[in-house]
């Protein structure tokens, strides 16, 4: 109905400058009118070509320039941030490794003090044992007395020929009997000597065992020392890498930070779960103490806030306990305290934690009583009366709630350890994320800047396409002029 030149609407508004047909040179023919207008406008468009091109270029530069500038600035900022992150990361890593090395040295010191302090005594014991063994060995080396000299005489007597002489035979028999007696005596003596040597040798055994044990101990201690020193070597190498600011060290530290971040986040989430259980235990009894009618926000009751505050206080006390035990290092002021002051603070925090745990156990009991009261009320309001629950079944949840209420604050006390890891690793992870974000933004700005510039170049080309006819004429005229000039030049030279 509203098409150009048709229908009552256009008929009524014909000739009206605000209607859509005022520009029509050829009435009721929009296409022809447009072509005629275009042909009329073409010389003007051609004349304005340079200006329009300049305009497009200017607009392209005006829009694209700041975008590219912004992109460059963001890239530079990202680079600076990365450098700063690297510096922080390396500084933190250096501190961590130096602490590690310090602890390893402390361990070595303790090992040396504990094990090698008794080394002189051990050495003396070893020397004594060795001397004793040596002496015994020497004793073993003592040979029995040599055979008497009469053996030679015996040989000479043996050469005597008896020739059936009775006297000689009797003498020889006498000698034989004597020799037998002496032989038996010598043999017995030899046996006694060997027996005593065997006794000495068997007496060696405990000393050998003791020596073996002592050497084993020495070996074990030295191996432990060697292990610790190899750990120190590895840490020292890491420290050197960090000092040299190598990419390898940075990469290793970043990876470690990401791992720490993930682990600490997981543990913190578990702790949050524990805190929620804790909150559920004490929220209802708190409404009995501070009332259930006051609201901090539309959905947050004051009693809930009070319960949360108690849980946060417990976590804070736990944090102080961890700090004073020097397990975490979130507060330098606590770390720099004197030993006496630190111990006082530790005991104060422990006492607070204990009191809070007792309060929570009491609140858990109160919660159970309130829940039971409410259950009894609801039961009395209900039409059907249920059987009373088994006292044992009632006792188990009550006890469990009280135990949970008592121990959860102590469990929450350990939240300081993952919290510290989380905070330290967050700096690295957050820094890396921000750098990535800034780089992405810079990339987008750069693309946008290029797009704008290219867009205006395309627009300039499109403009040329619309005035293609005058441009062709221009080219032809230029070609003709060049031809004429080329033709006239040799002729001119000839004349």
């Amino acid at each position: 109905m509203l098409r150009a030149g048709k229908g009552s609407y256009f008929e009524q508004r014909k000739g009206d400058p605000v209607s859509g047909s005022f520009w029509m040179i050829w009435p009721n023919n929009a296409v022809l009118s447009a072509v005629i207008l275009f042909v009329i406008a073409m010389p003007f468009l051609y004349a304005a070509r340079k200006l329009v091109h300049e305009l497009f270029r200017s607009i392209g530069n005006m829009v694209g320039g700041p975008l590219r500038l912004g992109a460059r600035w963001l890239f530079a900022t990202a680079r600076d941030m990365k450098e700063r992150n690297k510096a922080v990361l390396l500084a933190h890593g250096r501190e961590e490794v130096s602490q590690h090395i310090e602890r390893e040295f402390e361990r070595v010191g303790a090992l040396v003090t504990r094990d090698l302090e008794g080394y002189p005594a051990l050495q003396r014991k070893l020397l004594d044992e060795i001397t004793r063994v040596e002496e015994d060995y020497k004793k073993c080396g003592e040979v029995p007395p040599a055979s008497p000299e009469w053996v030679e005489a015996l040989v000479s007597v043996a050469k005597i020929k008896s020739d059936g002489n009775e006297m000689v035979q009797r003498i020889l028999e006498e000698i034989k009997r004597s020799v037998h007696g002496i032989h038996d005596k010598a043999l017995a003596e030899y046996r006694r000597a060997f027996e005593s040597r065997h006794k000495i040798l068997s007496g060696f055994m405990p000393f050998w065992r003791s020596l073996d044990k002592t050497f084993g101990q020495v070996d074990k201690k030295l191996t432990g020392l060697q292990d610790t020193s190899s750990k120190i070597d590895a840490q020292m190498e890491k420290y050197e890498q960090i000092n040299k600011k190598t990419d390898k060290a940075e990469h290793a530290l970043t990876m470690s930070a990401f791992t720490q971040f993930a682990i600490s986040l997981l543990v913190l989430l578990i702790a949050v779960g524990g805190a929620l259980v804790n909150f559920k235990l004490i929220a209802l009894p708190f409404s009995e103490m501070v009332g259930a009618g006051d609201y901090l926000t539309a959905t947050l009751r004051m009693s809930d806030v009070a319960a949360l505050v108690l849980i946060f206080l417990e976590a804070t006390m736990g944090l102080f306990v961890m700090e004073t035990l020097r397990i975490t290092h979130l507060f330098p002021i606590i770390a720099n305290m004197s030993e006496r002051m630190r111990r006082r603070m530790f005991w104060t925090a422990v006492v607070f934690l204990f009191v809070f745990a007792l309060i929570e156990a009491g609140l858990a009991l109160m919660r159970d009583m309130l829940a039971a009261d409410r259950a009894a009320l609801v039961q009395s309001l209900a039409a059907a009366q249920a059987a009373p629950p088994d006292p044992l079944l009632r006792l188990i949840p009550t006890t469990a709630q009280m135990v949970l209420g008592f121990f959860l604050p102590f469990a929450l006390a350990f939240v300081g350890v993952p919290l510290e890891s989380f905070i330290y690793s967050l700096r690295t992870v957050g820094g890396a994320a921000v750098v990535m974000l800034v780089r992405m933004l810079a990339f987008v700005l750069r693309i946008l800047g290029n797009l704008v510039r290219q867009l205006f170049k395309v627009l300039a080309t499109l403009y040329d396409v619309t005035i293609v006819l005058p441009l062709l004429v221009e080219r032809m005229v230029k070609a003709m002029r060049n031809g004429e000039a080329a033709a006239s030049r040799p002729a001119g030279r000839g004349t």
Partner: protein, 217 residues
């Protein structure tokens, strides 16, 4: 020391300024029709009251009033209570409230006429006095108003920002003959309470739907 105290008091003042001063409690005024044969339905009303006692929290208010020949009277309020902010006290109040309702149910007797409008005016006044954030009038009735000649209720009433819920609107014999009477009656009431400025008009014949309505914000 004084400086510290000042800082602490300023912090406390800040916290108290931050607290939400709006009322988050809700007040429910239940009208129980005791006229004619509908008085037999009072046992059902007791179930609903018990349900309300189980649902309402500390700080909420509840009142139960009967609809008789003329109901614009404090004497018609059977029991009313604003539950203590301590849950244990609130439970004790609920028990006492239940006992009053039990006694009422045992002694209820039917009236000749039904003045729902008078009860609504009385309920509106009670709810506005409580200052609760959410105000609801539950009408346990067949919504058939019958007034004696001397009673005047044909004037505009104000039920601004009050939710009106008609419960257990049973069909009368005449409604069974011509259901348009029942629908027309409900439509007329809807028009009347909406003109009175009520925030919502609902008809609930299933108590489970009442649960959803009371629990939503």
């Amino acid at each position: 020391m004084i400086k510290r105290l000042l800082v602490v008091s300023l912090l406390l003042a800040g916290v108290s300024a931050c607290t939400d001063q709006r009322s988050h409690s809700q007040a429910v005024y239940m009208l129980v029709d005791t006229s004619g044969t509908y008085a037999q339905e009072v046992r059902k009303a007791q179930l609903i009251i018990n349900y309300l006692l189980g649902t309402l929290q500390s700080g909420d208010s509840l009142a139960v009033a009967r609809v008789r020949s003329r109901s614009f009277n404090e004497k018609d309020i059977i029991a009313k209570v604003t539950f203590d902010s301590r849950p244990s006290q609130a439970n004790a109040q609920k028990r006492a409230f239940r006992d009053k309702i039990d006694a009422f149910v045992k002694s209820v007797s039917g009236s000749a006429y039904t003045d729902i409008t008078g009860g609504l005016i009385q309920g509106g006044m009670f709810l506005n006095e409580t200052g609760a954030g959410k105000k609801t009038i539950l009408i346990f009735s067949d919504m058939q108003e019958e007034l004696d000649k001397a009673t005047i209720r044909s004037f505009p009433i104000s039920l601004k920002d009050i939710r009106i819920v008609a419960l257990n609107v049973v069909k009368l014999k005449a409604d069974n003959i011509d259901p348009r009477r029942y629908l027309g009656r409900l439509e007329a009431w809807q028009k009347r309470v909406e003109n009175a400025g009520a925030s919502e008009w609902r008809v609930i014949n299933d108590i489970e739907h009442l649960d959803a309505m009371l629990s939503r914000s």
